[in-house]
């Protein structure tokens, strides 16, 4: 159940980000197969009318395919130095839809956090991806180019999403040098210390040795408390449940998840 295949998203816009190096490095450490993926949805006739453009025409579709292939070439070139082969999958569809579907072929999805374009047809909708992939998503903040895994933190809460995140993160937690469970309690949270002891036991049964616990009262917000611990403890990976739901066909993140995603200065592994 380790990670045998990793899927890396390549943005249609801008330069390749630090997530490429992180993905190559992880693939090396885990001896995993690497799959690059990109998506760009053709604008429908219906939507195109407003901007008075031709409905997506065949030459235009060919241009799109060419750009996607070019991105694949860039990725291959960037990975050449690492000596790792990469499989390339590009499709004319919304990036989040493409990745979620293709995620059947991988154990972990790796994406850069920031969007280079506001165009929803070519810009990744992170909420939709995390909530619909059925795989953990490693979100890499801008400028981050390494994931040393010296210290990982689990943002613990007695919920399905947090339980899922822990289970999904096991292959990364096992190669981390140490793990800290951060139990951030908000007013109304009833679970006692038994919950985190239990989790610690669970992790030990999977061979994790250095596990510590920290119970914190939420300071200003849950995110503030987590960021505080991350800094004080030199954490380089946060494992957290991603909360959200689908409303009228749109996937919407919960408040804490959105806030955390925006402000997290390190890599985050999110599961729903």
């Amino acid at each position: 159940m380790s990670f045998a295949a990793l899927m890396l998203h390549v943005d249609v816009d801008g330069e390749l980000g630090g997530e490429v190096r992180i993905a190559a490095d992880l693939a090396g450490r885990l001896d995993a197969h690497l799959i690059g993926v990109a998506g760009w949805a053709p604008m429908s006739v219906f939507l195109a009318e407003e901007v008075r453009e031709q409905p997506t025409s065949a030459p235009h579709l060919n241009d799109m395919r060419t750009l996607l292939e070019q991105k694949g070439g860039e990725l291959r070139a960037a990975l050449k130095a690492s000596g790792r082969a990469v499989e390339w999958r590009a499709m004319l569809d919304f990036p989040a839809a493409v990745i979620a579907r293709e995620a059947r072929a991988a154990d972990l999805v790796i994406v850069g956090r920031d969007r280079r374009s506001a165009d929803p047809f070519r810009s990744l909708d992170l909420g939709q991806l995390v909530l619909s992939a059925g795989r953990p998503v490693l979100v890499v903040p801008p400028q981050q180019t390494t994931l040393p895994l010296r210290r990982a933190a689990i943002a613990w809460k007695e919920t399905r999403e947090a339980r899922r995140a822990v289970y999904d993160a096991l292959p990364l937690l096992r190669i981390a040098q140490s793990v800290v469970i951060v139990d951030v309690r908000e007013a109304g949270d009833e679970h006692g210390p038994r919950s985190t002891h239990d989790l610690e036991q669970y992790l030990r049964r999977h061979g994790l040795e250095v596990v510590t616990e920290q119970a914190r009262r939420a300071e200003v917000t849950v995110t503030d408390t987590l960021l505080h611990v991350i800094e004080a403890e030199n954490v380089d990976l946060l494992v957290a449940g991603a909360y959200g739901h689908s409303r009228v066909g749109e996937w919407i993140f919960g408040g804490v998840t959105r806030d955390l995603l925006r402000r997290l200065p390190i890599c985050g592994l999110f599961s729903h």
Binding site: A4, D107, G134, L170, D198, Y202, R205
Partner: protein, 271 residues
């Protein structure tokens, strides 16, 4: 990585004891730890007529004794598992089992209640949708599971992608893995492409897929899957557990519900 810990719902009755035997067998095969769990809640005072403090006290005592008796039985049946743990708790079983799932990699529950068991309140739907772990559903009368022949019910959805990955420990030890999709006419090509892709994914996890097929039916997809499972003598069906919460109630999707109610074989559901 494998299933290091399994959590089984055991509440003392005969059906439940068969399930515990199955769980103990699995724990032995996977060299996993086994946690047994039961929950009993008190009747709310307003239901117990003329309820006084004394009657509540005696009920409390009775509940504690009952849970201890079930625990003793758990210890006896699971005695071959060196690392086992009993968790008999006062509380609603659905809430308990979902929260305690944090301690395990696989949750094992049943769907039928024992005759005369008035307290049975386990709702498999709530467990499947809320545990955040794969849930093995054991039909009554099944007390052994050797997962040699495993059938994966493929569908291009989040829940099925989850189920495939969650089932890896079973798939890796199986000798005959089958992936099938019940698909609509016209979608055979897509189905075939996806099943090939999943097979390659499984290959990277050292799982060889013996049978790849798509089925078509005018009747119910669940019945078609069950028929295929019967013909192929599958030991286990792996499927996505679809559903959502409506007004605080946990509702399963159609195929999941039929599999859950009608399957004479064990099913592994992930949400």
């Amino acid at each position: 990585m494998t299933y290091a810990t399994m959590l089984v719902h055991f509440d003392g009755g005969g059906i439940s004891e068969q399930r515990l035997r199955l769980a103990a067998g699995l724990a032995q095969d996977f060299r996993a730890d086994l946690i047994g769990i039961a929950g009993r809640s008190y009747l709310p005072t307003f239901l117990a007529d003329g309820g006084t403090d004394t009657s509540e006290d005696s009920e409390r005592k009775e509940t504690a004794e009952l849970l201890a008796r079930i625990g003793t039985r758990f210890e006896a049946v699971a005695r071959n598992i060196r690392r086992r743990e009993w968790r008999g708790r006062v509380g609603y079983i659905n809430e308990l089992i979902v929260a305690e799932a944090r301690a395990a990699d696989l949750v094992i529950v049943g769907r039928e209640r024992d005759p005369g068991d008035l307290y049975f309140a386990l709702d498999p739907a709530a467990v499947i949708l809320r545990a955040g772990r794969p849930v093995l559903l054991v039909p009554a009368g099944v007390d052994k599971l050797e997962t040699r022949r495993v059938l994966v019910a493929w569908k291009d959805t989040r829940a099925t992608r989850r189920a495939v990955r969650d089932a890896l420990p079973f798939l890796r030890t199986a000798s005959h893995v089958m992936i099938v999709e019940v698909c609509e006419p016209g979608s055979e090509m897509r189905s075939q492409h996806q099943i090939e892709d999943v097979s390659r994914y499984l290959q990277r996890h050292k799982v060889e897929v013996a049978v790849k097929a798509f089925l078509q039916t005018a009747a119910s997809p669940a019945q078609e899957l069950l028929r295929f499972a019967e013909d192929e003598k599958a030991d286990l069906i792996v499927a996505g557990g679809y559903g959502h919460s409506r007004l605080g109630e946990w509702m399963l999707g159609g195929v999941t519900r039929s599999l859950l109610h009608d399957s004479p074989r064990c099913c592994l559901f992930s949400h």
